[in-house]
């Protein structure tokens, strides 16, 4: 594998992005619901 350091760096960034996109997408939906419920009050 050429430029192993950058490969590991790139892989870590990409995997992090995938994991966090899933978590933030899921939890963000809950945030939206509670924010709009509060606006309704």
């Amino acid at each position: 594998m050429k430029h192993l350091f950058w490969f590991i760096f790139f892989a870590v960034v990409l995997i992090w992005y995938i994991v966090v996109t899933i978590i933030v997408s899921w939890k963000g939906l809950g945030n939206i619901r509670s924010m709009l419920e509060e606006q309704d009050d």
Partner: protein, 488 residues
């Protein structure tokens, strides 16, 4: 030539656009006043804050600018991303400036400055923020228009039409729904953008392979593409400017700081910064990698565009297959719309809250306040359309963004730090900092167009000029503050 198919990819794009508009408009009924309109009533929670900030700061312009950095400099091109990640993490962790700022319950940074330095500093700060911000944003529409005409395979003569359509769609839900619409649509855009980017990254890795791409970058630029400490075409002056700019951006860039000001409390604001910081690595690393893929592709196939900024859209148009290209273009459009909506709102809030403060004196009704903000957004949109069409972009897009951003970032950072932590800071120092901080970059932009001074300005370059701006602005704050007689 493009792989975009209007029968398969077209409906994907249309569904996304219609969905966004409907979603953005659906929250209008929740608007009760200016606080809801500008900062979503300060009810934004952690995960929505992260999605919104990540989506806002990752648009087509970011993608193209950072792909250009990867194309021209290899992995060294992600230096601004590393600086931003580190700055955001440290500022979030320590609460440096952002904690006192959030505790003051202000809507904008100039509002804080009035409390410490008086009305004149507030007004002057707002002026440079709007000036720098609008010049910075001036190229967004054009870049997005370029991206779309290439990926959709539309003739270049339709560029202005593409720009106008984009603006109308974004302005519609921003004008009508304000920050609430922006947050909700940002969330959708975060999800779509993530799917598009991740998919296309895997596509290129599988199709071309890591080693061939790296071989191509190394063959073109040598070891300097992988090691910033080797003399190459990136330069120490550029790295230093990246660090200064990163700190100034996380402390004072209006669209970022709005997320702090809109959060429930300072603790949530700090957490948003800490947890969003790695996105700034993503924001540079993935587009830079796509830029390196473009370099590899055009090195092996030929046909590289004359203007390197267009390499990424060309690559997408030629290589990404039908179906996926629709999703990716929707993702890029999502990214761009979230950026434009947040930026339109950010600059209109500074104009309304600060530049117009001497006129309304906080006496206008909520209804009038919302109406005026809507008019301001429309006006800013028109300016962007006209400016984007005629300004001749020179050099790197990222270099232009750095210079125009520095018009306000340098002085605002210095004044904010002084306002939070230096008792001897006063309005003389603040005004001196604003004057110097804007004069140097504006002069640079003008003088690089004047025949007589072009060559001299080119020899200094935007990076040394940028660093000098920060240094002289800092000195102006200190000297100006000490010069003020105690009796005043």
């Amino acid at each position: 030539m493009t792989n975009f198919n209007y029968f398969i990819d077209g409906p994907i794009l249309l569904a996304y656009l219609i969905g966004t508009i409907m979603l953005g408009l659906s929250v209008r009924r929740y608007l009760q006043g200016v606080q809801d309109y500008l900062v979503a009533g300060r009810r934004m929670d952690l995960y929505l804050g992260i999605a919104s900030l990540a989506a806002t700061e990752f648009g087509i312009v970011t993608c193209m600018a950072n792909a250009q950095l990867g194309y021209k400099y290899g992995f060294v091109g992600i230096s601004p991303g590393i600086s931003l990640f580190a700055a955001m993490l440290i500022v979030g962790w320590t609460g440096f400036c952002i904690k006192p700022l959030r505790m003051e319950q202000v809507i904008t940074i100039p509002e804080l400055f009035e409390k410490k330095f008086g009305k004149h500093v507030r007004w002057a700060s707002a002026l440079v923020i709007v000036l720098g911000g609008l010049l910075n944003m001036g190229v967004f529409l054009r870049m997005a228009g370029d991206f779309l005409t290439i990926t959709l395979g539309i003739d270049g003569q339709f560029l202005e039409l593409m720009m106008t359509i984009l603006l109308i769609v974004v302005a519609t839900y921003t004008i009508l729904g304000g920050m609430l619409s922006v947050l909700i649509t940002d969330y959708l855009q975060f999800v779509i953008m993530g799917i598009g980017l991740i998919t296309v990254t895997f596509l290129f890795l599988i199709k071309f392979g890591w080693n061939p791409i790296m071989n191509s970058v190394e063959a073109t630029y040598g070891s300097a593409a992988f090691n910033p400490f080797i003399d190459g075409n990136y330069g120490w002056d550029r790295i230093l400017l990246d660090v200064l700019l990163a700190l100034a951006t996380v402390l004072t860039w209006q669209t970022m700081i709005t997320r702090i000001l809109a959060s429930r409390n300072y603790q949530t604001g700090q957490k948003i910064y800490i947890r969003t910081s790695p996105f700034f690595l993503v924001r540079f690393t993935i587009p830079a990698f796509l830029g390196m893929v473009a370099l590899y592709y055009f090195n092996s196939q030929g046909g590289a565009p004359e203007n390197v900024i267009l390499a990424l859209p060309q690559l997408i148009a030629l290589v990404v297959p039908v179906g996926l290209i629709g999703l990716l273009v929707a993702g890029m459009l999502a990214a761009d719309m979230s950026t434009n909506s947040s930026y339109l709102l950010a600059w209109s809030s500074v104009i309304y809250n600060d530049l117009l403060a001497p006129i309304h004196k906080n006496q206008w009704s909520e209804k009038k306040g919302i109406r005026i903000n809507r008019l301001l957004i429309g006006g800013i949109g028109l300016f962007l359309l006209l400016y984007g069409l005629w300004y001749p972009l020179k050099g790197d897009l990222w270099g232009y963004l750095q210079v125009t951003g520095t018009i306000y970032l340098s002085s605002m950072m210095v004044i904010l730090i002084a306002a939070c932590y230096w008792d001897k800071a006063n309005d003389w120092g603040a005004m001196a900092a604003i004057a110097i901080g804007s004069l140097i970059p504006i002069s640079f932009l003008i003088l690089q167009e004047v025949e007589f001074t072009k060559a001299w300005v080119a020899s200094i370059g935007p990076y040394k000029s940028g660093v000098a701006t920060y240094v002289f602005t800092f000195l102006a704050m200190i000297i100006g503050s000490y010069l003020k007689p105690r009796s005043l």
